[in-house]
Symmetry: C2
Subunit: 157 residues, 2 copies
């Protein structure tokens, strides 16, 4: 799983579609119609989503040719393996976000409207590394969720 240490924007040599094809070939897998549709839909905009939302969007995209639920789950797993998506867990359900071509970040989570706000903080990584060093712990990654109430919801209340 490749990581991004870049800051505002990351330039990538291959499109997500190309990168995924590359991954599939390397693993003796096939570039099928449904896998193509799924990557296309997933990378059509930057957003957090779960399997159900993706399926819903796919229904709109393609009226007749439906992609089945199992295939969506299977392909999401492959996209994570390929390093194109990052998976997290929110309230017992899997949530996905782009991991290819986007800098690492953490989240503010509004418990009122369920919105996820991304932010990047160099300082957090520094503190994390310092703590890890104190424990002789080798850091692979981290995940920080700050739960609370966003501006809009605070105004509304």
């Amino acid at each position: 799983m490749p990581e991004n240490f870049a800051l505002p924007k990351v330039r990538v040599p291959l499109s997500p579609e190309e990168r995924f094809s590359q991954f599939l070939q390397k693993h003796g897998k096939r570039v099928t119609q449904q896998r193509r549709l799924i990557v296309e839909q997933v990378f059509s905009h930057h957003d957090h989503f779960d399997a159900d939302e993706l399926i819903e969007h796919l229904q709109e995209l393609i009226q007749r040719r439906e992609v089945s639920r199992p295939t969506v789950y299977r392909t999401l797993g492959e996209l994570v393996e390929a390093g194109l998506l990052r998976k997290m867990n929110l309230g017992g359900r899997g949530i996905y976000e782009h991991d290819y071509g986007y800098p690492s970040h953490d989240h503010l989570y509004c418990q009122v409207c369920n919105k996820l706000i991304e932010f990047h903080s160099e300082a957090i990584e520094q503190v994390r590394d310092r703590v890890a060093r104190q424990h002789n712990f080798h850091v692979v990654s981290h995940r920080l969720f700050v739960t609370g109430i966003c501006v809009e919801c605070r105004r509304r209340e």
Copy 2:
């Protein structure tokens, strides 16, 4: 699985059992045999655990009088409501830890042995609050997981 921690304990006026009874009474609920058994078991040692592990431990504790699975889940929920336990989500399953009489902390998670190491960092809270202020976000709580490899597992490899 998890080990003991270097975090100082907090002095509390009531034992977990007493605190839970208080909570139950305040909510018109009853202090039953099974609720008593569950709190006792849960607070017999400081550890991270899931519902299954708790049930397993309860089986040992009481050979004949078994506490059923639904009751364990129901009581765990009440212990969280009562502020005695804190629940988190690890790989799609609920993980619980003491929240009464223990200071707030975050976790280093060893992906090899699944151990959770607790640590407290004032600095993280400061960075968190600064970022939140920048986004006009009202912080309720946060959760930081640092995934990696612990000393023991690194030595072993």
